[in-house]
Symmetry: C2
Subunit: 530 residues, 2 copies
């Protein structure tokens, strides 16, 4: 502002400029500022120059002279690198999101007026990125709001871990041995093993039997996969040895192994896939806890709903059972949908107009409907009797529900959010509680229209013997889990909880279809170029 | 509660128990519940059994019979695995944090009463871990509160990155090539290079000159270190080749290189050290932004103030300069200290009593004092004239201030928080703005009493040419930074911001001395065993 003038517009707090929203949200829409100097900062979205025969004063530019200008979408703004603008500007009076600047033209024969459409991020301004990020931000804020209101404590969980909580997924290994200047001799060790081909042949029979057995009992996929790999390895080894024509005698095999004892943490360490196990140990000391942070899965398949680096809200409650966790997940989703509906009206209006006509309807659905609760067995039953609908693959107890199945249940049958609980034992991670039927475990998924599963929850197996024998069944190395088993060893407590995947929820609230559009720097297979 | 009784105590929301605080914070302290049945859950902190000659009714146990019980501190609770308790309890009436249970004794000749001290995490209950985590949680919540109030947007920054933002520190490389079942042939490629010893000898002279030059001009440490390494490598290579007695003829050297093009992201990717660069690109589209997440440094030295995995708040503001960032950092610290002082009274009282008598005084200091602002040059001047004080190492323009220096300035000279700004060019990262003197850069550190630096901030170099030549000076590979340079290439905007290290701030507010005590699963050199 000019120092002679009384300050009619407030400056932005940590900058010498005035935010556009401060001007545009005045009751007069900024018209009262005609003739005053205001410093703003912003990005030029479009511009148009009008050459004039007669010099004009600011006041002579009639409002209707502003032509309809091209809207600039998110990707255009980010990719076309539109020049940024910081200058002393004269606000001539402004319609909504129309700010005009008179550029002082030097050495130019004819006077001209340039009309610029400017945005500074302080209001919606027809930018898709300003709306999506607003909703992303609002979801983060609402998440903390819900759990803090309910007396949960936010705890800091480790991103680097040596504990394998989920088992099934490929992980990102973290190491300092591959930094520049390191070479193989420094980071590896040589192992010599004397093996007999006969012994390996004998073991192959056993390994084959195990695979058969696992196949027949429809057991955990991870265990089956491990057994198959084990068999394959042995078969390859025998064939190698035979090729070397050294059968019937001892053979020395030299393998070079990556030596993790030389690594930063002196052991193999990877990025966390889920925070539930660590969070449970905190719940056992603090009661109800949650944690909001990044989780990682090295999944190579392309998906519009998941990324290699994703943000999750993990929740764990001491002294609670499956029913409690379902109730909490239900309340939580309703709460955040309410916050978005009420707090992001401007952004939702924009989305309604440009991206997805059904966004309000969908938020309202979650807000007002009671979630349908069906067991996994019931879900299978409904899918098997789906009239006039053919799904890929056989539908029977034990199969993992696909996006197609979930969509049918949520979008076509129940037409509202569905909670599917009590999955078959083989589909759950090792730490979930075995139900009394011996076949199913205390798990649940919350499935939303459009985006599918956003929450996975469970009650933990608090009985030491059950947990221990389950781990043996899956062939897990107990040594790695000692700290977790200790929570059970000397008395225990029932705990339940869940994990929310943030990005699908952002898709739900914005109507967009690809997570890569809602995360500023998405990480997926082959993609980490900044 | 018994179903016949009117519900005089409310149940916890996601559990069938009643929280202890619900009972203890009643105006009658729980006495009104005498004779009623309440389900609670909690951990037994200590127990004592009293054998009685005559059977007693609950009412006959006088309050003074409860002996002074041993307090259980944080580490004891976590390490001694005290058995957990869930049972139907009779509340006989309760003094503060004294809850007694009558255990039904079966087949026992003499009746007895067991007196248990129970905690369920809902109140301070003399547990250090219940207080420290409360304050940790309150700081997280207050951080979001401050920035949301000020209209900043929270944005999701990548943890996995191929961009090197700080340069100086050793990084954690992330890979999927080291998962089980992978062997060296799959993950490495062989490079053959024909080298001439004469050529290497010639290059050694050049390399030596460069080191000399860097040493003389007192330049960036990182560049000097790189040049020294480069020289050393060449010297080693020549000595190797000479040993092989193959001088004067071409020598083929075979090296096996880790082949990152075969990796998940098809390039070398590491864990983020700082989010400032990525955040700046967001600020250029959204205005004022912040991000709260984990950052990583593979630092091998033991420190009580830092960890390999740490949580930071990164802040970036478009259209703002150094002064604005300092102002924002100042307001932010005052805000969180106010929130802690007002919102965690119970926890602070506990800390005051058990850990640190000065905690309130210290929070008040930050709250009420105006931070001292001195330039780096002034700080050096003050340190050089420190009467009766001897520091390790020489104090002159260009040296990095140590904890000892900082402590002297903050604890002995100014006796309040100090902001030190305009550091020598050689101490700042490549992206900070060069001041007009050509010697210093637009950076600042906020140094607090007791814990030292908690915030590092700067204004970014917005002038493309300056940035570009600085990168050349430091020998940075521009290819990696193209996306960042693009922000400058077609017009630019001034931005400034800062990073707050959360853990030292928790130390400040709790009086503890070691970050390992305020993080549930601390990660440091050789330490990631869960």
């Amino acid at each position: 502002m000019d120092s002679e003038q009384a300050p009619v517009v407030e400056c932005s707090k940590y900058s010498k400029r005035v935010m556009l929203k401060t001007i545009l949200r005045r009751s007069d829409g900024g018209v009262g500022l005609i003739g005053q100097r205001v410093v703003i900062g912003g990005w030029v979205k479009s511009s148009r120059e009008i050459r004039l025969i007669q010099p004009v004063t600011p006041h002579s530019v009639p409002a209707q002279e502003v032509v309809s200008t091209k809207d600039v979408t998110c990707s255009e703004v980010l990719q076309s690198r539109i020049p940024l603008l910081r200058s002393i500007m004269k606000v001539f009076g402004a319609g909504e999101y129309r700010v005009r600047e008179k550029i002082n033209v030097v050495c130019q024969p004819q006077p001209s007026v340039s009309i610029l459409q400017v945005s500074d991020g302080s209001c919606v301004a027809s930018l898709q990125v300003a709306s999506v990020m607003q909703i992303h931000n609002a979801l983060t804020w609402a998440t903390h709001g819900f759990f803090q209101d309910q007396g949960f404590l936010h705890v800091q969980l480790p991103i680097l871990t040596s504990t394998d909580s989920e088992g099934s997924s490929e992980k990102f290994v973290v190491t300092t041995l591959l930094n520049k200047g390191k070479n193989y001799d420094q980071i590896s060790s040589t192992e010599n093993a004397v093996v007999s081909v006969e012994a390996i042949r004998a073991s192959i029979k056993e390994k084959y039997k195990k695979v058969e057995e696992l196949n027949r009992t429809n057991s955990n996929k991870e265990a089956l996969f491990a057994a198959q790999q084990d068999l394959k390895k042995a078969q390859e080894l025998v064939s190698q040895l035979e090729t070397r024509q050294k059968a019937n005698s001892g053979v020395t095999i030299e393998t070079r192994k990556f030596d993790f004892t030389k690594d930063f943490f002196a052991r193999q360490t990877h990025l966390t896939v889920s925070g539930r196990l660590h969070l449970e140990s905190q719940a056992c000391g603090l009661g109800n806890v949650y944690s909001f942070g990044p989780r990682f899965q090295a999944v190579k398949s392309e998906s519009k709903k998941s990324l290699a680096e994703t943000w999750m809200v993990d929740v764990e409650m001491a002294f609670s059972e499956l029913e409690d966790a379902m109730e909490c997940a239900n309340h939580f989703l309703k709460f955040v949908c309410k916050r978005i509906s009420e707090g992001c009206m401007e952004d939702l209006q924009f989305i309604l107009k440009r991206i997805d006509k059904k966004v309000m309807e969908r938020l309202q659905l979650t807000l007002s409907s009671s979630f349908e609760r069906i067991s996994y067995a019931e879900a299978i039953d409904v899918l098997r009797h789906a009239a006039g609908k053919r799904f890929q693959g056989k539908i029977e107890f034990g199969v993992s529900l696909t996006e197609e199945h979930e969509s049918y249940l949520v979008d076509e049958i129940y037409k509202k959010p569905v909670i599917i609980y009590n999955h078959p034992k083989g589909l759950g991670p090792f730490y979930v509680r075995l139900n009394d039927d011996g076949m199913t475990v205390a798990t649940f998924d919350v499935v939303l229209p459009k985006v599918g599963t956003v929450i996975r929850g469970s009650q933990s197996e608090e009985r030491f013997n059950m947990l221990s024998s389950r781990m043996e069944e899956l062939g897990l190395q107990k040594q790695q889990y000692e700290w977790y088993l200790d929570l059970r060893r000397h008395g225990s407590v029932k705990t339940s909880g869940f994990s929310l995947m943030l990005e699908p929820l952002v898709l739900y609230a914005t109507g967009l279809n690809d997570v890569k559009d809602v995360v500023p720097f998405p990480r997926s297979f082959g993609r980490a170029n900044n």
